[in-house]
C-alpha cells in the first residue's frame, strides 16, 4: 500500500450460493482509498453496493480477493481481530440509522467507545463533542424515537466517528431522508471531511450526491465500471 493509502481492495469478488447456482454479486473489484478521500460509489439497486461495503468493513468474507486497511489484510484475520478492526478502524452509517432504541443519543454514540475500552469520562466528553459537531448538543438525552429521521442519521454519523476510525463506510445514508435532510447530511459530511480530514466511502443510487465527492466510482452488476474525480 502507498504512503497515503488507508484502504485497498484487490480483485475483490463475492458470490452467493442459491441452491446449486453461484450468483455473483461482485466481480474483481479494485479500489484504492487515500486519507481524506470522500468517495461516492454510485449504482442502481442490486448492483452490489452493500456487498462491497460489507467486505470493505470486515462484516463479510469475500469469495476471492483481498482487502487491506492500514496495512492489515482483513481477509486473513480471525473474527476476534476483525471485531477489533471494526471497532477501531471503521465507522458504519446505515440507511436506516440502526441506533439502539431506548438508548439516548449520548449512549448510542458512546457504544463503540465501550468496546474500545475508553474511560467513562473521556467517552462522555467525546460523545458530547461529536453530537455538538453534528448539531445535536440539545438532543443528548433523547431516544431515537424522539428524534427526526435527519437527526437520527446525524447521531449515526457521530457514532461512526466515535473511535476516530480510519474510514467511515456509509450505505445509502440519505436513502431514507427527504431532500432537505439529504442536503443537511451531505453538507455535514462534506464539512467533517474537510475539517477533520475524515475519510468517507458512501454508496448511493442518487447521482446527485456525486457532487460532494472528490472521487466517484460507478458500480454496475458487481463491477466497478468507471470512475471519475471531481477534485
Amino acid at each position: 500500500m502507498g504512503r497515503r493509502e488507508i484502504l485497498k481492495a484487490q480483485d475483490l469478488s463475492k458470490s452467493y450460493r442459491m441452491g446449486k447456482t453461484d450468483v455473483p454479486a461482485l466481480n474483481k473489484v479494485n479500489l484504492e482509498v487515500e486519507k481524506g478521500d470522500f468517495i461516492v460509489i454510485q449504482g442502481p439497486s442490486g448492483s452490489g453496493k452493500t456487498t462491497l461495503l460489507n467486505l470493505l468493513g470486515a462484516l463479510d468474507h469475500p469469495t476471492s480477493g483481498e482487502v487491506w486497511i492500514e496495512d492489515a489484510n482483513i481477509t486473513r484475520q480471525k473474527e476476534r481481530s476483525l471485531s477489533q478492526i471494526r471497532c477501531r478502524k471503521i465507522g458504519f452509517v446505515f440507511q436506516f440509522y440502526n441506533l439502539i432504541p431506548k438508548m439516548s443519543a449520548l449512549d448510542n454514540v458512546q457504544l463503540p467507545m465501550i468496546f474500545a475500552k475508553t474511560s467513562k469520562k473521556l467517552r462522555r466528553e467525546k460523545a458530547e463533542n461529536l453530537l455538538k459537531a453534528v448539531g445535536l448538543e440539545h438532543r443528548l438525552q433523547h431516544n431515537p424515537s424522539e428524534l427526526s429521521a435527519g437527526e437520527q442519521q446525524r447521531v449515526a454519523v457521530a457514532r461512526a466517528l466515535a473511535n476516530d476510525p480510519a474510514i467511515v463506510l456509509m450505505d445509502e445514508p440519505t436513502g431514507n431522508l427527504d431532500e432537505e435532510n439529504t442536503q443537511n447530511i451531505m453538507r455535514l459530511l462534506e464539512r467533517l471531511n474537510k475539517e477533520m480530514k475524515q475519510t468517507f466511502i458512501l454508496t448511493t443510487h442518487n447521482v446527485a450526491l456525486t457532487k460532494y465527492a472528490n472521487k466517484v466510482h460507478f458500480l454496475h452488476d458487481g463491477t466497478l465500471t468507471k470512475s471519475s474525480k471531481n477534485a
Binding site: F94, N98, I114
Partner: protein, 372 residues
C-alpha cells in the same frame, strides 16, 4: 467489564415485563426448592432427634419395619443382651398408634416404670410419673393441654379406660405422647412377650461398637444401630421422602431451565438486529457473550433473592408440618438451603442461556442489517 454489565442491566430494564416474569418463574423455583428441601431436612432432623430423645445408646428394632417403633421383636432378647459385656441397662419398649379419647393416630408408649428415669429426662408438670405396673397413664404436657386433661381425670386408649396420674414435660416430641407401663401396653395391645424396640446403654462409651457388634452377631435378623445413627438407618422411608422431594425440585428446575432458554432464544431472535449493530460497532463475540450471560445471571440472582426472601417470610409466618390432628412441627430454616437455592437459580439461568448466547454470537451483522 463494568460497562458490559451496565449494558446488560440496561437491557433487562428495557424489557421489564418479560424479565419480571422470568424473575418470578425463577423465584417460584427457588421457593419450591427451599420449601421442599427444608421440609425434607426438617423431617429427617426431627426423626433423628426423636430417636435420640428416646434415650439409650443402642437401639434394636425389627428388621424391615417401616419405622423402628412399629415393628415387633421378642422381649426375651433383653435377657441375652444383659449378658453381653459392658451392657448397663436394657429396656424393652412398645410404641403404638392408637385412638386416645376419640383422637385417632396418637402415639402411646409402654415402658417399664424403672426404665423411665434411666432413659428419659423429664420434669413433672402435675401429679406423678408412673411407678408401678398398674393400668395408669401419664401425658406429655402438649397432649394434656390439647385434651384438657389433668391428674385424676381418665383417658380411653383403644377402648381401655385408664386414670391419668401425671403430666410430664421433656421439651421434645414426646410431649405429644401418652406413656403407660410396659406390661399394660403388652396386655392392651396383645403383644405378649414382644416389644417394639429395645434400648441399651453401656457402661463404657468406648466399647459401644463392641456391644453393637456382639448384638448383631447374636441377633442377625434384627436391626441394630447406635442411636445417633438411627436416622440414617431409616431407609427406605427417608430415602423415599428425599427422592420424592428432589424429584419435585428437579422437575421445577428443568421447567425453569427450558422456560429461560425459551425466553432468551425469543429475545435473541427479537434482538438479532441489535446484536448485529453491536458487532458492526466492534463488539467481539466475547463482549456479546459476557453481556448476555450477565443478563441471565442477573435475572438468576434477582429470582434467587426474591425466592429466598419470600421463603423466609413464609417461614417466619410459621410453616408447620402436621404430625397428628393436634401436633405439628415447624419447618426449620437451614441457611445452607437458601445459599443452595440462590446459587442454583444463578446456575440454572446462566446454563439455560448458553445455547441462546451461542446463537447470538453467531449472528452475522451483514445478514441482519441488510434490510435495514
Amino acid at each position: 467489564m463494568l460497562e458490559i454489565l451496565a449494558m446488560a442491566l440496561q437491557n433487562i430494564r428495557r424489557r421489564a415485563m418479560r424479565n419480571s416474569l422470568t424473575v418470578a418463574g425463577l423465584a417460584v423455583f427457588v421457593m419450591i426448592f427451599v420449601l421442599i428441601t427444608s421440609f425434607t431436612l426438617t423431617v429427617q432432623s426431627e426423626v433423628s432427634k426423636s430417636l435420640s430423645d428416646l434415650g439409650g445408646e443402642i437401639t434394636l428394632w425389627s428388621q424391615g419395619a417401616l419405622l423402628p417403633f412399629f415393628g415387633e421383636i421378642p422381649e426375651n432378647y433383653t435377657t441375652r443382651i444383659e449378658q453381653i459385656a459392658y451392657v448397663e441397662n436394657v429396656s424393652p419398649q412398645i410404641a403404638r398408634i392408637c385412638s386416645v379419647d376419640s383422637q385417632d393416630l396418637r402415639l402411646v408408649f409402654g415402658l417399664n416404670p424403672s426404665d423411665i428415669s434411666v432413659f428419659y429426662t423429664y420434669t413433672m408438670v402435675e401429679g406423678t410419673m408412673i411407678n408401678t405396673n398398674e393400668s395408669k397413664a401419664v401425658l406429655g404436657y402438649l397432649f394434656a393441654d390439647f385434651l384438657k386433661k389433668h391428674p385424676d381425670d381418665s383417658i380411653t386408649i383403644d377402648g381401655h379406660v385408664m386414670p391419668v396420674i401425671g403430666v410430664f414435660k421433656t421439651d421434645t416430641w414426646m410431649d405429644n405422647v401418652v406413656m403407660i407401663p410396659f406390661a399394660v401396653a403388652q396386655n392392651n395391645f396383645s403383644l405378649s412377650g414382644r416389644a417394639s424396640i429395645i434400648m441399651v446403654t453401656v457402661t463404657d462409651p468406648s466399647q459401644i461398637d463392641f456391644v453393637v457388634s456382639e448384638i448383631r452377631n447374636e441377633f442377625p435378623n434384627v436391626s441394630v444401630s447406635k442411636s445417633q445413627e438411627a436416622a440414617s438407618r431409616l431407609a427406605p422411608l427417608m430415602g423415599s421422602i428425599s427422592v420424592v422431594s428432589y424429584t419435585f425440585s428437579t422437575i421445577a428446575g428443568i421447567a425453569c431451565f427450558f422456560g429461560i432458554t425459551n425466553v432468551m432464544l425469543t429475545g435473541i431472535i427479537e434482538r438479532s438486529k441489535e446484536i448485529g449493530i453491536l458487532k458492526a460497532l466492534g463488539a467481539s463475540g466475547g463482549d456479546v457473550t459476557r453481556m448476555m450471560l450477565y443478563e441471565s445471571a442477573s435475572l438468576g440472582a434477582a429470582g434467587g433473592l426474591l425466592g429466598c426472601s419470600v421463603s423466609i417470610a413464609l417461614f417466619l409466618q410459621g410453616m408447620l408440618i402436621p404430625i397428628t390432628s393436634a401436633s405439628v412441627i415447624a419447618i426449620q430454616i437451614f441457611p445452607e438451603v437458601f445459599i443452595y437455592g440462590f446459587t442454583l437459580s444463578i446456575v440454572i439461568s446462566t446454563v439455560a442461556a448458553l445455547y441462546p448466547v451461542w446463537r447470538a454470537v453467531r449472528v452475522r451483522p451483514h445478514e441482519v442489517l441488510k434490510f435495514g
